[in-house]
C-alpha cells in the first residue's frame, strides 16, 4: 500500500489515536439525543460549516503528513530481489507533492519568479564575466522568454486550474445532491431547488459555496505550483509553499495533542478536588497554585534544554533526524500540557463543587449509589461540555504558542518545518536589502487562516454546548 517501509513516529500514533477517539465519540453521540442536539446546532450554523470545511482541509493535510515511511530507493538491484529503502523518512504528503519537494533552487527567489533574487557572476560565451540574475533551475523553466510570456502563462495556468476546479466542484455538488435526494426520497431537481434556495436546515448552500472556494484555491494553486514557486523560495532555495504546508502538521499536532495530554490530569484532578473536598482538595489546589506561579516560558525553556542535552548525549538512540525532531515535538506538547492543565482543572473543580450539591447527586446518595459510580454516571457527563469547549478554545492559542516558542528557539526542532521557525528565519530576511517578505507572509497567512477558522469554530461550539446560553 505504502511506497516504502512504514515508520511509526510517536506523534503519528497519538494523532491517529485521537482521530479514532473523535470518530468513536461522534458515533456514540449520534445515538444520544442530548449529545446529538448541540452538534446538530453546530452543523446548522453557517460559521460552523464554513470553519469545519476549512479546518478539515488543514486536518486532512496534517493527517496525510502523519503517515511516515522510508521510501524505496530508485536504482534497485533487480537481480537480488531485495528491496532497498532509503534512510530518509518522508510522509505520504511529501510523496504527493514530490515535485515541490525536489524543486530546490540555489537561494532566494520571489513568488512566480523566473530568476534568482540574488546576482551571480556568470561566465558568458565570449569568456567575459558578468553579474546577472540567473535563471532558476526549476521555477518557470518551461518558458523561453519569461519577460514576454510569464504573465500570459500564469493567467492561462490559472484559468486551466479554475476550469478543473469548477469541474470537480460540479461533480461534488452533483454527488451531494444525489445523496441528499436519495436520503430524503425527493427528486433530484427538488433537492437542488432547496439547496440553492437556502431553505434547508443544514446550510447546504453555504457548504456548496465554501466547497467551491476551497476547491478553486486548491486546484489553481496546484496548477501554478507545478510550474512556479508560488510563494518563492527561502535562503537555501527550498519552496516556501512546501514549507508552509508542512508546517500545518506541526501546528495541528501541537494544538490537539497538548490538550489531549493534559486532559487526564485536568479531568481527574479537577473532579476529585471538587467531589471529595477535604485534604484531597487542598493537595490538588496547592499543586496547581504552585505550578501556576512558575513562569511557563521558563519551565518550557528548561525542559527543552534538558531534552537537547539528553538527545545530543544519546544520539545513537535515534534512527533518523525525523525521529529526533518528532520526540522534541512530543516533548514540547507534554511540557505545554503540563503548564496548561491548571486552567481546565480549576474550571472542573468549580463545576463539580456546584454539581455535588445539586439534587440529583443528593438523590443518588440517598439511593446508596457508590462514589465512583456517581462520578462516572452523574458528574463526568455533566462537565463534558466544559472539557469540549476548552479543547476547542485552547487549540488556536496553542498554535500561536508554538510560533512564539519556536521564534525564541525553545520550540520545535530547527530542522522541523513550523510557522514559528519560518518566522524566526524571516527575522534576518526582513533586515536584508532588498527585503525578502514571502516567508513571513506565507507563514502568517497559513497560521492566520487556521487560527481564524479554529476560533470561529470554537465560538459556534461554545454557543451550542454552553448550557447558560441555551435558549
Amino acid at each position: 500500500m505504502l511506497p516504502g517501509k512504514p515508520v511509526f513516529l510517536l506523534t503519528d500514533i497519538l494523532v491517529f489515536g485521537l482521530m479514532l477517539c473523535i470518530v468513536l465519540f461522534f458515533l456514540y453521540a449520534m445515538r444520544k439525543p442530548h449529545l446529538r442536539e448541540p452538534w446538530r446546532q453546530v452543523v446548522r450554523s453557517k460559521a460552523g460549516v464554513i470553519s469545519m470545511i476549512v479546518l478539515s482541509v488543514y486536518v486532512g493535510i496534517a493527517l496525510l503528513d502523519s503517515v511516515h515511511f522510508h521510501p524505496v530507493l530508485e536504482n534497485q538491484n533487480a537481480a537480488s530481489g531485495e528491496v532497498h529503502y532509503s534512510g530518509e523518512v518522508i510522509s505520504l504528503f511529501d510523496e504527493m507533492v514530490s515535485g515541490l519537494r525536489a524543486s530546490g533552487e540555489k537561494t532566494y527567489s520571489a513568488p512566480f519568479a523566473a530568476y534568482l533574487y540574488a546576482k551571480e557572476t556568470v561566465q558568458q560565451d565570449d569568456g567575459t564575466k558578468q553579474r546577472v540574475y540567473p535563471r532558476l533551475s526549476w521555477g518557470a523553466v518551461h518558458l523561453d522568454n519569461p519577460e514576454a510570456q510569464k504573465t500570459a502563462d500564469v493567467l492561462v495556468l490559472g484559468a486551466v486550474g479554475a476550469l478543473k476546479g469548477i469541474a470537480v466542484w460540479l461533480v461534488l455538488v452533483t454527488l451531494l445532491c444525489l445523496v441528499l435526494s436519495v436520503r430524503a426520497k425527493r427528486s433530484f431537481r427538488a433537492t437542488l431547488g432547496i439547496l440553492l434556495g437556502g431553505r434547508s436546515g443544514v446550510p447546504w448552500r453555504t457548504v456548496i459555496l465554501t466547497l467551491g472556494a476551497v476547491v478553486l484555491v486548491l486546484l489553481v494553486g496546484a496548477e501554478w505550483a507545478a510550474k512556479y514557486h508560488v510563494l518563492g523560495t527561502d535562503k537555501v532555495g527550498e519552496d516556501v509553499l512546501y514549507q508552509a504546508l508542512k508546517s500545518i502538521r506541526t501546528g495541528v499536532v501541537i494544538g490537539t495533542l497538548t490538550t489531549l495530554l493534559m486532559l487526564p490530569f485536568a479531568v481527574i484532578f479537577g473532579i476529585m478536588a471538587g467531589y471529595f473536598r477535604g485534604w484531597i482538595d487542598d493537595v490538588i489546589q496547592y499543586l496547581y497554585t504552585t505550578l501556576n506561579s512558575i513562569p511557563g516560558v521558563l519551565l518550557i525553556a528548561a525542559a527543552v534544554l534538558m531534552l537537547n542535552v539528553y538527545m545530543s548525549k544519546h544520539a545513537e538512540q535515534f534512527a533518523s533526524l525525523t525521529q529526533r525532531a518528532d520526540l522534541r515535538l512530543l516533548f514540547l506538547c507534554l511540557i505545554l500540557g503540563l503548564t496548561s492543565w491548571t486552567g481546565l482543572c480549576r474550571l472542573l473543580r468549580a463545576e463539580t463543587l456546584k454539581l455535588r450539591e445539586v439534587d440529583f447527586i443528593q438523590a443518588a446518595t440517598a439511593f446508596g449509589v457508590g462514589r465512583v459510580q456517581t462520578i462516572f454516571r452523574h458528574i463526568l457527563p455533566n462537565v463534558m461540555h466544559i472539557v469540549l469547549i476548552t479543547l476547542v478554545l485552547d487549540f488556536s492559542g496553542l498554535v500561536l504558542a508554538e510560533a512564539v516558542l519556536s521564534y525564541i528557539n525553545i520550540g520545535v526542532d530547527p530542522t522541523m518545518n513550523s510557522w514559528g521557525n519560518m518566522i524566526n528565519s524571516a527575522r534576518l530576511e526582513m533586515a536584508r536589502e532588498p527585503v525578502v517578505w514571502w516567508s513571513l507572509a506565507a507563514s502568517l497567512f497559513f497560521m492566520f487562516t487556521l487560527v481564524l477558522f479554529a476560533n470561529l469554530f470554537a465560538d459556534v461550539v461554545r454557543d451550542a454546548l454552553d448550557p447558560r446560553l441555551a435558549r
Binding site: F360, Q362, A366, R377
Partner: protein, 555 residues
C-alpha cells in the same frame, strides 16, 4: 380622553424561533382606570409577564407585537419613538420584578441606584437627589434610611431589597406601576408587609397598578379588577367582588377547585381522581411511630484563616424532636432559612447531624455504619423541591428510576427491573414510553411525578417531601397532592412534608410542626395548631397568610 389611564386593544405578541412561531399573547384587551389595581392572574406560560413587557416595550428580541394598540394617557405607546419611550419608562410607567435578589446591581450602593433615576428623569442635582432618596426610603418604610442609602444590595434582606426596588420604581411618581409577581420570592410574613406597603403607597401617590400574580389569595387582597389569563387570552374579566363570589369561566372554577384548603381534607382536589375516604387502617402494623427524631442538631462550622480553624458555628438545626406515625403525613412548616430542609437531609444523613438521634423502627440511623446505612436507604427516600435539578439531564427517565433499584439491589433480574419501572410509571400516571425519553422533554409536574416514581421504586416506608409542589402551578400542585394521597392510601407510606405553604398543610397534613430559626416552636394535630395556635410565631405566620374562601359552586 377615555376613562382609562391605560388601554390595551387587541394586543398580540408572538415569539419567533427558527423552528416555530409561538403566540404568547393572543388579542387581549383591557383597560386600567386611574388609581385602580388591575390584577392579571394566570399560571406559568399564560402570557401575563409578556403582556406587562409589551406594555412597557421591553420585550426580548425574539418577540414582536403583531397587532393592537396600547394607549397610555391618550398616547399610543407603540407609535412612540424609543427616545420618548425611555422618558416614559420610570416617570410615566415603572415596573418592579419578581426577583429582588437579581434586580439590583450588586456593586453599586442602593442610594445611587435610586438617585440615578431621579437624575435621569428629573434633572436633579446630586444633593437634591440624595435628599429625595432619603424621603423615598422612608416612604417605603426602610428603618434608618440614612444608613441604608450607603449600603450594597447583599447587605439587605430579601424584603428590604424589594422595598428598595419599589423605591426605585416610585422615584419619579409614575402614574402606572407594573408589579410582576412582586411577592412570590418572599416569605409569607414579608409578603404581607410588602403588600400592605404597596397598598399604602398607591393611595399616597394616587397611581394605578397592574398587578401580575399566580396567587388568587393575593389577588383577593389587593385587586379592584381581575382578569384571568390562559394560553395568551383573557378568559374572564370582572370586579373583585363579582369574581370571588361567582366566577363565570370554567377555567376560573378549575383554579379555585385546585386550591388546597382545610375544608377539602379527605377529598381529592381534582375531579376524577379516586376518592380518599379515610386514612389507611393500620391493623396489622405497629401503632408505634416509624421514625423518631430526638434533639437533632446540624451545625455548620465557620472556618477562617490559613489553616481553616473553626471559629464558630451556624446552627442550622438546633435541637429538633419529631415523631412520624405510620401511614401519616407530618408537615414541617417554616420560612426560608428556618432549617426545615436541613432537618430532612439530616434525617437521611445527606448532611451529617452534629448531635441527636434518628431512630427508624428502633434502628439508630444516626450512628449505624456505612454498610448498614446503605441497607436502610431503601426505607427512607426523598423528593426534592426543584424538579429541574433533581434528575440527571443526561440520563434516560428509565435509567433514572432504575438507578435506586440497581444500587440497592432490590430486584437483581434485569427483565423484572424493567417491568417494575413500567409499573411505576403507570402508577404515577405517566405513559409507559416515558422511560425512553430524557427529563427535559417533560413539564415540571411530569418531572415531579418521575421523581416520585424514583423514590417509590425502592418501596420506602417514609418519603421526605422537600417542598415538592412549591415550584409548580396550583393545578399541577393539585395533581401531585392527589397522587401523594393516593399512594399513601395504597402503600401506607409516611410523609415528612416540608413546606412553607399553609393551605397545603391545612389540606394535606395530619400533624404539623412549626419551625423557626432552627427550632420547632410548636407541634400538634393540624386542626388544633391551625385553629388555635399557641406560640407567638405561629400566630404571626398564620395571620400573614392571605385568606381566601373559595366560592361555592351552585349546580
Amino acid at each position: 380622553m377615555s376613562e382609562f389611564l391605560l388601554q390595551v386593544q387587541d394586543l398580540t405578541t408572538v415569539f419567533r424561533t427558527s423552528r416555530r412561531t409561538l403566540t404568547a399573547v393572543d388579542r387581549i384587551s383591557f383597560g386600567i382606570r386611574e388609581g385602580e389595581t388591575f390584577a392579571l392572574v394566570g399560571e406559568s406560560g399564560s402570557g401575563k409577564s409578556v403582556t406587562a413587557l409589551s406594555v412597557i416595550r421591553l420585550l426580548p428580541e425574539a418577540a414582536s407585537l403583531t397587532s393592537g394598540s396600547i394607549r397610555f394617557e391618550g398616547k399610543d405607546l407603540l407609535k412612540l419613538p424609543e427616545r420618548d419611550m425611555r422618558d416614559m419608562r420610570g416617570s410615566g410607567i415603572s415596573m418592579i420584578f419578581q426577583e429582588p435578589m437579581t434586580s439590583l446591581n450588586p456593586v453599586v450602593k442602593v442610594g445611587r441606584q435610586i438617585s440615578e433615576v431621579l437624575i435621569r428623569h428629573r434633572n436633579m442635582s446630586r444633593p437634591q437627589a440624595r435628599q429625595r432618596v432619603l424621603d423615598l426610603l422612608d416612604a417605603v418604610r426602610i428603618p434608618r434610611p440614612s444608613q441604608t442609602i450607603d449600603m450594597y444590595a447583599h447587605e439587605l434582606s430579601g424584603g428590604m431589597k424589594q422595598r428598595v426596588m419599589i423605591a426605585i420604581a416610585l422615584a419619579c411618581e409614575p402614574r402606572l406601576l407594573i408589579a410582576d409577581e412582586p411577592t412570590t420570592a418572599l416569605d409569607v410574613t414579608i409578603q404581607a408587609q410588602v403588600l400592605e406597603l404597596i397598598n399604602d403607597l398607591q393611595r399616597q401617590f394616587k397611581m394605578a397598578i397592574l398587578f401580575i400574580t399566580h396567587d388568587l389569595a393575593v389577588v383577593k387582597q389587593v385587586a379592584d379588577q381581575v382578569a384571568v389569563m390562559k394560553d395568551g387570552q383573557i378568559v374572564e374579566q370582572s370586579s373583585n367582588g363579582v369574581f370571588f363570589s361567582s366566577p363565570q369561566h370554567a377555567y376560573s372554577w378549575d383554579l379555585f377547585a385546585a386550591l388546597p384548603a382545610m375544608e377539602k381534607r379527605g377529598k381529592p382536589l381534582l375531579e376524577g381522581n379516586s376518592h380518599r375516604l379515610h386514612k389507611p387502617v393500620m391493623e396489622n402494623m405497629t401503632k408505634n411511630d416509624v421514625l423518631q427524631v430526638r434533639d437533632l442538631a446540624v451545625y455548620f462550622p465557620i472556618r477562617k484563616g490559613l489553616f481553616k480553624r473553626t471559629v464558630g458555628y451556624v446552627k442550622a438545626v438546633d435541637g429538633v424532636s419529631l415523631d412520624i406515625p405510620p401511614g401519616q403525613t407530618v408537615a414541617l412548616v417554616g420560612e426560608s432559612g428556618s432549617g426545615k430542609t436541613t432537618v430532612g437531609k439530616g434525617i437521611l444523613r445527606l448532611v451529617q447531624p452534629t448531635m441527636g438521634e434518628v431512630t427508624y423502627l428502633g434502628l439508630p440511623i444516626h450512628e449505624i455504619g456505612r454498610n448498614q446505612l446503605l441497607e436502610q436507604r431503601a426505607n427512607l427516600q426523598i423528593v426534592f423541591q426543584d424538579p429541574y435539578s433533581s434528575m440527571n439531564p443526561r440520563m434516560l427517565v428509565g435509567s433514572i428510576i432504575e438507578e435506586g433499584i440497581k444500587a440497592l439491589d432490590v430486584i437483581p433480574d434485569a427483565q423484572a427491573r424493567k417491568q417494575r419501572v413500567l409499573e411505576l410509571l403507570e402508577q404515577v400516571g405517566l405513559d409507559k414510553d416515558a422511560h425512553l425519553r430524557y427529563p427535559h422533554e417533560f413539564s415540571g409536574g411530569q418531572r415531579q411525578r418521575i421523581c416520585i416514581a424514583r423514590a417509590l421504586a425502592v418501596d420506602p416506608k417514609i418519603i421526605i417531601c422537600d417542598e415538592p409542589t412549591s415550584a409548580l402551578d396550583v393545578s399541577v400542585q393539585a395533581q401531585i397532592l392527589d397522587l401523594l394521597n393516593h399512594l399513601q392510601e395504597q402503600y401506607a407510606i409516611s410523609y415528612l412534608f416540608i413546606t412553607h405553604n399553609m393551605s397545603v398543610v391545612a389540606y394535606f397534613a395530619d400533624r404539623v410542626a412549626v419551625m423557626y430559626q432552627g427550632q420547632i416552636v410548636e407541634q400538634g394535630e393540624v386542626e388544633q395548631v391551625l385553629t388555635d395556635p399557641q406560640h407567638e410565631y405561629t400566630r404571626r405566620l398564620l395571620s400573614a397568610v392571605p385568606k381566601l374562601v373559595p366560592p361555592i359552586r351552585v349546580a
